[in-house]
């Protein structure tokens, strides 16, 4: 089981502001103001040997927004046995340049190309980084490519 994180220098820059909480018309209760959201999609492969969880998390402190990819991979060799601990559990801060893509992916869903990247190369890169066969910054780039 591994848990690691990779930060991107560009991630700290302000990129957008949260959803507006403007005053509603008279008589209508104002909507709640979102300050954080997290969506995650967990896929069980048809052979039952792999479970991949790809999540997007948006946080704000009022002035700036941060996006994080959460990535968890479970593997087993026998589909009749429980997965146990995750093979990889990785948090990747999303580069500021990809914040708009992250917002789109969270709200509109991942495209086929994005899901292909997430369930194929990104999963393999996360595992390789955990095993030490791929540098973490390279794995981080591959995982972030899921938002391209």
């Amino acid at each position: 089981m591994g848990s690691s994180s990779a930060s991107n220098p560009g991630s700290g820059a302000a990129s957008s502001t949260p959803t507006s909480g403007t005053n509603p018309p008279a008589g209508v209760a104002p909507p709640a103001l979102p300050i954080a959201l997290k969506v995650s999609f967990t896929l069980n492969t048809p052979d039952g040997l792999r479970e991949i969880s790809f999540g997007l998390e948006k946080d704000t402190d009022g002035a700036k927004v941060d996006w994080t990819i959460t990535f968890t991979l479970y593997e087993r060799t026998d589909a009749s046995k429980p997965f146990g601990d995750p093979v990889v559990s990785l948090n990747v801060f999303v580069a500021a340049a990809l914040h708009a893509n992250a917002e789109t992916a969270a709200k509109n869903g991942l495209t086929p190309a994005q899901t292909a990247q997430a369930t194929g190369p990104a999963a393999d890169a996360a595992k390789a980084a955990h095993e030490g066969t791929l540098p973490l910054p390279v794995a981080s780039k591959i995982i972030q490519s899921s938002l391209q």
Partner: protein, 718 residues
């Protein structure tokens, strides 16, 4: 047998009263079965975007956890526990982003609200919001909105899946409690033929992974002073991607005895059946189903002399073969099924066809939203049947109508819940099996019936709170996850495309070419020390990345191969430039090394060949198949969120007409039965329908009408 109260009637009514009490008590401080769906928001202050609530010194005064499935007690318990923990940690504390975001969400996720069944996909959405921000008092309230779903890809046929969504929304969303493999569901009912009857269904479905021929055992029984119906079944199923999406099979034993006017009908039989369901087609709106059943046993029919129709035997060993096929459709506010069944039967140990039975059944249900979560529901059903008996037929195999099951103890043509083909005339104004006297005696050889039910909820509580269903952010997030699911399916079908197989078969040839290119780059770097270090590093990085994708694609055995090959062939990613961009466009543009040029060209030629194969993949077909796959799930979930209620009280109007033949004078012919009643549904807990229908053109010996009453109670083991 569907109409279902019995020996446990008083206990069930006690449960109902308890549940109703909980519903009525929802505004009290005690734990509620139903959350407040539309909390009052009078005097709520807006929260200004861009505010840093932490540095501005805000204090949390209230914390709420909002989960639409809180009415399910196993989720409600966790939800209330989490809410209590968050209140203890956050209420009256200074607002900090760490505490309200990462710490709180960590606590929520650790609770694992949704069971992961290890199949298909699981979606989780968590939304943290602030409201009622008082800039003077520096106070605010926190709302945690949680939604999880793990929908089964196979949701059964259209009309049956709608019934499941209404009575057991947790099944549709994959939130059924996954601990105990045992389930017991009491049921009961009343009609004048049987009196008050009761019983239940026991199901054992061990949580076993992998494929097993039989994975579920079901035993079901109903009884009263005058009837009994017992069945036991072993069943299994498999879901797959492809034209045949779902298949199930069942070994079933049935034993029943029921009165039919002056007659008594008994059946005992063992059957084996296998059914299949295709992938949806016609833009994901229609699916086809088909199957077959082989059955043998005994039928006995005690009937006074003179009432036995020609070519009909009272008691007989029998064997029969049934084949059936149908289409089902589901659109946004309509579900529809049409089914045809053919039965070939023989009396005694004979290969001869002694009788043939034809059944046609058309069911439709549509609902029109009139007001928020107040759908006008219209259910209609047309069933016709005919028997040809060139030799002989057991009495119990003929048609017996009324407001209960068929005379043979089965209301439907095939056992099980996933596909319900009605095979007897139904008219709620006449007690079970009492529409049966024809010009030839007891039991009809042809029939037609039309049943219409209209219901409108006068009081309802939506499953999805209005705050949540009307929240564009939340709706968008949910929709996005369904899109992701469709994308995953599309990749699977792309991976299955034969052209993908051709492309992947050539992939091994790229590895030595990448190695050769790396050697050329190494040689060039040795020949040009300290020159273009960044360009050399980028080129080497791109070759390494390409080798990584090639290696992973060759090692993978599943649709993960598609992602590796896609990224290798169509990089288009500024974070990960291609070999051509880095080594030829960037490095060799400045270096002009002939070794790199030759090796890169050789790699590009082979890559182009593979790319051409890859580009022949029928992406449009894959996208359509994926859209079809996900369409039924998507529409069912949409209905659940936008139209369905966890609690509703609805007046019901019914209209039935049934005809049996051959008619002669007052015997056989047409009956008309209008009526009305009330329906109460408390999703996942209890539902019942109570009413009365009049037999407008009743004939001698028939009553003025009949009560109809059915009741279903939640699984008592959960």
């Amino acid at each position: 047998m569907r109409h279902t109260v019995g020996p446990q009637l008083s206990r069930l009514l006690t449960l109902l009263a308890a549940v109703a009490g909980a519903v009525c008590a929802q505004n009290t401080a005690s734990p509620n079965v139903l959350p407040d769906r539309n909390p009052s928001q009078k005097g709520v202050l807006p929260c200004k975007a861009g505010t840093d609530f932490e540095s501005d010194g805000y204090r949390i005064v209230k914390t709420t956890v909002d989960d639409p499935f809180r009415f399910l007690y196993w989720i409600g318990g966790k939800s209330r526990s989490i809410e209590a923990q968050l209140e203890a940690k956050l209420d009256n504390q200074p607002f900090t982003y760490k505490a309200v975001d990462a710490d709180a969400l960590g606590l929520i996720e650790a609770a694992q609200f949704v069971p992961n069944n290890g199949k298909g996909f699981l979606v989780r959405i968590e939304l943290v919001s602030v409201q009622n921000c008082d800039p003077n008092a520096k106070t605010l309230e926190l709302i945690y909105r949680i939604y999880s779903t793990n929908p089964p890809k196979f949701l059964g046929g259209a009309t049956e899946s709608q019934d499941t969504a209404e009575k057991s929304p947790q099944t549709t969303t994959g939130l059924a409690q996954s601990g105990s493999p045992f389930h017991f569901t009491p049921s009961g009912g009343y009609n004048r033929s049987y009196g008050a009857f009761g019983g239940g269904r026991f199901q054992a479905a061990p949580n076993i992974a992998g494929f097993h021929l039989f994975d579920t055992f079901t035993a079901e029984g109903l009884g009263s002073y005058s009837m009994r119906s017992l069945s036991a079944a072993l069943s299994g199923s498999v879901d797959r991607l492809g034209w045949l999406q779902h298949s199930d099979w069942r070994l079933n034993y049935l034993n029943s005895s029921a009165p039919a006017g002056v007659a008594r009908l008994k059946t005992a039989g063992l059957s084996g059946q296998i059914d299949g369901q295709t992938q949806p087609f016609w833009k994901g709106t229609v699916l086809a189903r088909f199957g077959g059943l082989l059955q043998g046993g005994n039928m006995q029919g005690a009937v006074p002399g003179g009432l036995l129709p020609p070519q009909t035997v009272s008691n007989a060993a029998y064997g029969l073969l049934r084949g059936y096929a149908g289409l089902s459709s589901r659109t946004s506010h309509n579900v529809f099924s049409v089914s045809y069944g053919l039965e070939l039967g023989s009396v005694g140990p004979s290969a001869r066809v002694d009788w043939r039975k034809h059944i046609g059944d058309v069911a439709d249900e549509f609902w029109v939203p009139i007001g928020d979560h107040k759908p006008l529901e219209v259910e209609s059903r047309l069933t016709i049947g005919g028997i040809q008996a060139p030799h002989s037929i057991p009495l119990s195999a003929r048609f017996f109508g009324g407001n209960g099951g068929g005379g043979n103890g089965e209301e439907f043509f095939i056992p099980g819940d996933s596909w319900q083909i009605r095979d007897a005339p139904v008219i709620r104004a006449i007690p079970a099996n009492r529409l049966y006297l024809t010009g030839q005696g007891a039991g009809a050889d042809r029939f037609a019936s039309v049943n219409l039910t209209v219901a409108y909820p006068v009081k309802s509580y939506p499953i999805m709170p209005k705050d949540l269903s009307a929240d564009p952010e939340f709706s968008s997030l949910l929709h996005g996850q369904i899109v992701t699911a469709a994308s995953v399916e599309q990749n699977y079908y792309t991976w299955k495309d034969p052209n993908f197989g051709v492309a992947i078969s050539r992939l091994a040839s790229l590895k030595p070419l990448l190695d050769a290119l790396q050697k050329a780059v190494d040689a060039a770097q040795a020949a040009h020390p300290n020159q273009l270090p960044d360009a050399f590093a980028d080129c080497t990085g791109s070759i390494g990345m390409a080798a990584f994708y090639v290696g992973d694609a060759l090692a993978a055995k599943s649709d993960a191969q598609y992602g590796d090959l896609l990224r290798l062939l169509q990089p288009g990613d500024p974070l990960n430039p291609s070999v051509q961009d880095s080594c030829v466009g960037e490095l060799n543009q400045s270096l002009g090394d002939p070794g790199i040029k030759t090796a890169a060209a050789a790699f590009d030629v082979e890559r182009t060949v593979i790319l051409n194969d890859f580009n022949r993949i029928d992406q449009k077909a894959a996208a359509q198949k994926a859209a079809n796959d996900i369409a039924f799930v998507n529409r069912t979930l949409n209905t659940l969120f936008k139209d369905l209620n966890i609690f509703s009280v609805s007046p019901v109007a019914v209209f039935d007409t049934a005809w049996i033949g051959p008619a002669k004078g007052a015997l056989g012919g047409n009956r008309i039965g209008p009526g009305g009643g009330i329906r109460l549904e408390l999703a996942s807990y209890v539902n019942f329908t109570f009413g009365y229908a009049w037999n407008v053109n009743r004939q001698p010996g028939e009553g003025k009408g009949a009560l109809f009453f059915s009741m279903g109670v939640r699984d008592l083991f959960h």
